[in-house]
């Protein structure tokens, strides 16, 4: 995927972009639907996310995060902008953590894949109640108090489940920092 992005960035390669679109637009649409968008809006936002990918491909640098991370961040920011219509301070930087760029190892991309794999394997092992709260937060866009209300749990329980889930991810990535 990073390779497709590079072809888009360097050559304006339309075929590479079509492949990216096929790979990501359906999941971005699915994400927007889960966030509460109606079908037409979700479709529009998935188009717009991928258009942003096309326009900003030159700003993507593989060493700062996987292609999926980058595209998901764009989708996240777009969704806050359009679905929540809130003010300017919610977007996260789309170019990843600046710390990562200081010491670039040649095998950076490998460790990026390694990160992704470790995160996925920790996620697969999470107890269902922890998966539930992180899914409600990250995919359905609910705040902690909304999650507490939805699941009829004390706010403190929601927060501690969130923390427990993250702590496992954090431990798993410890030596990759």
């Amino acid at each position: 995927m990073a390779d497709l992005l590079r072809r888009v960035a360097v050559n304006g390669d339309v075929d590479a972009f079509r492949a990216l679109f096929r790979a990501y637009a359906p999941r971005v649409k699915s994400y927007m639907l889960r966030q509460g968008a109606d079908s037409a809006t979700a479709e529009e936002l998935s188009q717009e996310t991928l258009l942003t990918v096309w326009r900003k491909a030159g700003l993507y640098s593989g060493e700062k995060g996987s292609a999926t991370t980058w595209i998901f961040t764009i989708a996240r920011n777009l969704r806050i902008d359009r679905l929540r219509k809130e003010v300017a301070w919610q977007p996260l930087p789309e170019d990843g953590p600046e710390e990562a760029s200081t010491d670039l190892a040649p095998d950076e991309e490998l460790s990026e894949r390694e990160r992704g794999e470790r995160v996925r394997s920790v996620m697969a092992e999470l107890p269902p109640e922890q998966t539930e709260v992180v899914t409600l937060a990250f995919i359905e866009g609910l705040s902690h108090s909304e999650i507490a209300a939805r699941l009829d749990l004390p706010l403190g329980t929601v927060k501690s489940r969130m923390r427990l889930a993250y702590q496992k991810i954090r431990d798993a990535l410890e030596d990759l920092r």
Partner: protein
């Protein structure tokens, strides 16, 4: 700036997820703009979202890749535009308002239209979007002044922007965040020389203790 108090991981996760109520997000974004440690945590937290996103069942997409729109966008924007926009956004204005809030508040704390609320206390409510729950308030407390004792019905997130305050938890200086739950009660006292300016986000109404403080409640608009 030495930061001693960081937001709870749960609050940072809510930010990473993009599901944080507007008022809280303002405080977290302000902290992130000065705290590299928490920025690193948030970027790790985003991996959770990415893994969940990766596992989503794809939805049917009706349209093909928007090649025409791509070309149009290209012609209209040129390729270097985004980079220059990013560079401008990164340039710190000369001021002490946290970077993410400058577009709403201007760059300097001293230029805010502070409203006198009580002896030694000035406030400025930060406008939120229509459907945002909770409230966001700039509070300026004079040197050595005590804030009225209060408890919270909901969560309260505070970031110190100038000076410092001390309460039972400890001393909070510039960049520090107090991440308090509903069961916390505290009486912050502002730094004796500089006083304290902080940005406070909350989702519940404050409950003041004691008759005098309760009398103050409507007055100071807290």
């Amino acid at each position: 700036m030495t930061i001693r108090h960081h937001p709870d991981f749960a609050s940072l996760m809510c930010c990473a997820a993009g599901s944080q109520p507007d008022a809280f997000a303002a405080v977290i974004a302000s902290h992130l703009s000065v705290c590299a440690d928490c920025r690193a945590e948030v970027s790790r937290m985003q991996e959770i979202g990415v893994a969940l996103f990766d596992a989503l069942a794809p939805a049917d997409v009706d349209a093909a890749a928007p090649v025409i729109a791509m070309r149009a966008g290209e012609a209209e924007m040129g390729s270097a535009v985004d980079e220059s926009v990013t560079a401008t956004a990164r340039e710190a204005p000369a001021g002490d308002v946290p970077l993410p809030l400058v577009s709403v508040l201007g760059a300097r704390l001293d230029d805010l239209p502070w409203r006198w609320s009580a002896p030694g206390i000035w406030t400025h409510p930060v406008p939120l979007s229509e459907n945002a729950g909770g409230e966001l308030l700039m509070i300026k407390v004079g040197p050595g002044k005590e804030m009225p004792a209060h408890g919270h019905d909901g969560q309260e997130l505070t970031i110190i922007l100038r000076g410092a305050y001390t309460d039972t938890i400890g001393r909070f200086g510039v960049g520090d965040v107090a991440d308090l739950d509903s069961d916390t009660e505290h009486t912050p006292v502002a730094c004796a020389t500089e006083g304290c300016i902080c940005l406070v986000a909350r989702d519940g109404k404050l409950r003041f203790k004691g008759p005098v403080a309760r009398l103050l409640q409507p007055l100071i608009g807290l």
